[in-house]
Symmetry: C2
Subunit: 210 residues, 2 copies
């Protein structure tokens, strides 16, 4: 199944997906028309529907392609015999590098899926939840090993960690934070320093009041 024909077909499909990323990033999923995607890809309107059942399916495909890579990465990192801080560093690096490599795609994933509580966020809630839970498990292990303070709820800590990273990307997406190689590295470092710094044993503060 690897004739010239089959390859051309795969390429066309990819062509449309890549065009969709640019269009979604530029105009937003709701604001763009399917015709915009076809134009951007340089194909006829109808061809989009030859490869995808609906406009939604295009976004679903884009999200799942990338998110599944992230889930695999987190699982692989967790399986390694390295300190928590290195695990979390690897995850932060993966996310920031994903943005560095394809900012449009990450913009689309964050704006249209990860934070879209009434549309695609609900559709992909299971996948999104899984990422948070995997990070939570890393925190739990670190607590069991005595590296992280045990009184902090692991799920909350995972959310804080992920949220800090995503907000960095959001800052870049909105043009509110400076971008560039050096900034990307500083962002990784900052998240690690603040979140791990606060979670590690030796920090001050007792249990919460309420």
């Amino acid at each position: 199944m690897s004739t010239a024909r089959a390859k051309a077909t795969r390429d066309k499909r990819r062509l449309i997906l890549d065009a969709a990323v640019r269009v979604f990033a530029r105009q937003g999923f709701h604001a763009c028309r399917v015709a915009d995607i076809a134009d951007e890809a340089g194909v006829a309107y109808g061809l989009v529907y030859h490869y995808f059942a609906s406009k939604d399916e295009i976004l679903d495909t884009l999200f799942l392609e990338r998110w599944n890579v992230m889930l695999e990465t987190i699982r692989a990192v967790d399986a390694e015999a390295i300190p928590v801080r290195e695990k979390l560093e690897a995850i932060a690096s993966f996310i920031v590098d994903s943005y560095r490599h394809d900012p449009d795609l990450m913009k689309v994933i964050i704006v249209e899926v990860t934070r879209a509580a009434n549309s695609f966020g609900q559709t992909h809630l299971g996948q999104i939840r899984e990422a948070y839970e995997l990070i939570g498990e890393i925190v739990v292990k670190a607590q069991e090993e005595g590296v992280f303070r045990p009184e902090i709820d692991a799920q909350f800590a995972a959310m804080a960690f992920y949220g800090a990273i995503e907000q960095m990307l959001t800052g870049w997406i909105f043009g509110l934070l400076p971008q560039g190689e050096e900034q990307f590295e500083r962002a990784k470092w900052l998240v690690l320093e603040t979140v791990c710094g606060g979670l590690e044993r030796g920090a001050v503060g007792g249990a919460p009041a309420g």
Copy 2:
């Protein structure tokens, strides 16, 4: 200008705004129709356009009403002569309590504005930016006083702080984190502990590699 008539008018306007919050939260801004808002408010379709120029203007009003209160709160907190940690605690409390008090409104603000890079987020970019900058100024002062480590970029730190809080709300909005009085207090405490813990002097780690 406070006749019974004027008061009834103000009440009607508020009635529509409150109905819009519920509808936007339930269905999302794009998925709902203006007719849904009118139905929810128990008024005729046309009346919505008597009080608001467009569907957009309703969301704009809801966002600005609340966001301006937050900006005022942050400014007031910053002006007080209290330690950084208390300032940041007050801000975290304000945001979490806003959610506690009206989860639907906060859901709408976060999902439809704060994180909507291609629609209302752009419209209100100035207001959003201002919040981040005010928090950044608090961090800068803390660095000047020697309480926070100076090598961490204040704007990045502000984003990490705000992002961690917003992700907590997102967790509640998506139903991924447990809610309740105790959970809200724990969330505030956790964000303070992790972020401040990592930012305060005495934490480990040198400057970033890249």
